[in-house]
Symmetry: C2
Subunit: 480 residues, 2 copies
């Protein structure tokens, strides 16, 4: 890719988008003129103008990098998006489908007929096809699969057999491999037979007759060493390698930690299967952090900003339903104390503060613990140490903020006992937040679940219902 | 780095951590024995055993990659961390300080004396020093700066002159450059004079006499082309380049989009300043997404999980203070309706549901809009279209969830007017959430501020106070 890139200012992309928008606008203008003046003469004339605009737009798109076209497609409302999509050269469809987000990909695929889809899919490598496969209609996939050469069919089957979070799902098959008993000169001559090496080839892999991985020969070693030396002497004898069933997350951390560009993927017996490159890792890291941010806000997946309303509703529905249940539970806790609130209505005004601050504090704790667990920095066994620290933080915050709120309550309602109840409730709810903020993610990790998912709802449910219960309970005991 | 890596299972890292812990445990055991049996004979005997353990630990650490030592330091409580830190070879201190998180770096630097710090800093390149500089005591930095050769001093000054979010801050100076009028053979001979090329050298840069960038020669082109050809014919004449004052975020997107491994950085006149590599970009992407997740949960920065309590308190204080203010405002809104609540106490139990669901829905909207703005997929000008969509989603949700809650309220309290007020309040608060969920980030973007920061607090403040006001206001108007 990089090799075919032209010097491109970053602002160019925004310019490109603006130009596409302008051309679309002009085209629409023409269309609306045609509709208004239905005469046959006008028709002809205007459609000529329109065709000119289309040709211009097509030229513009032909010059663009597939990733840039993907960007523009994502940034256009659905109707204009499909107008542009129709103008893209058919042989580039496959690449572009790989670059757009899942939500936008759906809209594009829905616009293509079976034949177009088969043609687009056939331009892709096996590992790319594996990424696209879940979004393709079954019959299209079958057609493409049958048309593949045997070797690629095997690769596709292999790539699709790995779960999304395994190294196998990040793997591609564009490996260049050489034997260990030749000289660098021979390797150099072999490489010169390629027109171009696969992207991200920073090293070629060294294998024996049976494809077992023996080492890796970085190009930078190839170019700095004497051509007469044998590969065996120059190669890394124990290169960093991954198993296809390793966790993708672990592979990403290794790439980051050891600054890798590519790594060999082997099966459990040591046979070379493929490689993972840093660009696949970069995409993975970005997508994962994206997914985490979205799930924290209760969105099931990335949304096409221009999606129809009902699609957005579906995407957000699950989370709202869960929150409705937890809010309802909290509401029933309050309901149990209606008698107390009737007698001292100030409780109604103060109780959301106790619940709210508890929720914030709990989310701070849980976020920190979840991240430390994900990085492997803490083990569930260290829970006691973490409890101690978080309880300490909660006590400090409880006394300071609780004390402040107690004073406020006293100042507002002139009732010092109310102030003390407020302070105590605040401190206790912060303690609850601290304990649950550690306990929830640690328990989830021990149960083998991903603590990043759902932790935030659970802690908020605890501190809401718990906060109302503590505050109203203490008030009932000591004030009434 | 990658070249010196040994075959290392991912689990090895956890094993390494376990071994270090075990050795520390044994050492502590010995120490405690020494303290209990103070006799001189015991002393001698035990200190021998202890020294053995130390030597073993030191050997273990010497074999580890600096990033792995950094990982272990982060995962150890402070006392054990410093014990391990003292055993690390002094010449590796600099590299390791670069790898640990800011919070942990502070604890390590606090443990070193001036001389150790100067020695550690002197092992680093100019761009690495620039990263470390903010954490170094002033006098140490001055010492190191004065000891640098003139060229590196210039580089350090340059690297430190860029803001943290500029390409200049990601840049390193390990560029290999060649002239365009030589043959590939000459380039190959020149490269062979290196013992090792700098990490991530996927291309050498082609410059003229005055260091103006003319092109780039990927190593993969160098190895596949005939050695007799001149560089000029083989190089990329218009490689992707960055300006030192481009936004780091834009550079990261370009690396991801165009699958780059390295890119030249030039000044505005086209002179080669340095390069950015994909590993710097990967670190940047990871750190940024980390910071976003943390700031969403109200943490100022990443915490050392084993930090003392007061340090954590400081890190979390600001957010709690802001939330206290917004919770207080919401509480005063309720306070204004105390008369209504006294007459119909069911309001107190139902009002948190209206506020809570509004907050969740608003956060969903704002998260989606913030991300689309950050990716450049939507322009603030398209606000009207987004409003329309979000209002549509809010109406659907308002009718469905609001209706459901209205039924619940009727079922609980047998008051159908209360049910209708509940439904109406829910729908209106979801509309408020939708409008503010678009308006807040779009307004922030128009004002040139980062919409990712603070949006979530603002929307929650709106839906809390707004939800209470709408629900209690409607109730006061129609029920009492």
């Amino acid at each position: 890719m990089a090799e075919t890139l032209e010097r491109k200012e970053l602002e160019d992309l925004q310019d490109g988008l603006a130009r596409v928008r302008e051309l679309l606008r002009r085209q629409r203008l023409v269309e609306s003129l045609v509709h208004r003046t239905e005469g046959p003469r006008h028709d002809l004339e205007e459609s000529l103008v329109q065709r000119q605009h289309q040709a211009e737009l097509r030229r513009e798109l032909d010059d663009m990098h597939p990733a840039d076209i993907a960007f523009i497609l994502e940034a256009l409302p659905i109707e204009e998006r499909l107008a542009v999509w129709d103008l893209v050269k058919a042989e580039r469809d496959g690449e572009i489908l790989l670059e757009v987000s899942d939500a936008v990909r759906e809209t594009l695929i829905a616009d293509m007929d079976r034949q177009e889809l088969v043609a687009a899919a056939e331009t892709l490598d096996a590992d790319e096809l594996a990424d696209l496969a879940p979004d393709l209609p079954d019959d299209v996939f079958q057609d493409v699969f049958r048309a593949l050469p045997v070797e690629e069919r095997e690769q596709l089957r292999a790539a699709m057999s790995y779960p999304e979070d395994a190294v196998g799902a990040l793997m591609d098959f564009e490996v260049v491999s050489v034997r260990d008993d030749v000289t660098l000169e021979v390797v150099a001559r072999y490489l010169r037979r390629f027109d171009e090496l696969p992207d991200h080839t920073d090293q070629v892999f060294v294998v024996d007759r049976k494809e077992y991985l023996k080492g890796a020969l970085p190009l930078s070693r190839l170019v700095v060493n004497d051509p007469e030396r044998p590969v065996e002497q120059v190669m890394l004898a124990e290169p960093f390698t991954l198993y296809a069933d390793d966790k993708a997350q672990d592979a990403a951390q290794a790439f980051e930690r050891y600054d890798l560009i590519s790594a060999a993927v082997v099966d459990r017996r040591g046979r070379l299967l493929g490689r993972v490159t840093v660009n696949a890792v970069l995409d993975f890291v970005r997508e994962r952090s994206e997914a985490e941010l979205l799930s924290q806000a209760g969105l099931r997946e990335g949304e096409d900003v221009f999606a129809p309303v009902w699609q957005s509703v579906k995407n957000r529905w699950g989370w709202l339903a869960i929150n409705l249940v937890t809010a309802f539970v909290a509401s029933r806790v309050i309901g149990a104390f209606e008698g107390s609130i009737e007698k001292l209505v100030a409780l109604a005004a103060l109780m959301p503060i106790v619940a709210g601050i508890g929720g914030n504090s709990g989310n701070q704790t849980i976020t920190m613990i979840v991240r430390a667990l994900a990085l492997g920095q803490i083990q569930p066994e260290q829970a006691r140490k973490l409890f101690a620290k978080e309880v300490g933080v909660a006590l400090v915050n409880g006394l300071v903020w609780g004390g402040l709120l107690g004073l406020l309550a006293f100042w507002l309602y002139g009732n010092w006992k109310l102030g003390i109840v407020m302070t105590a409730a605040m401190a206790l709810n912060l303690l609850l937040a601290a304990v649950m903020g550690v306990a929830i993610p640690v328990a989830m990790a021990k149960l083998g679940r991903d603590p990043a998912i759902g932790s935030s709802v659970m802690i908020t449910a605890c501190t809401d219902s718990g906060g109302f219960f503590i505050f109203l309970g203490l008030a009932t005991l000591f004030l009434l």
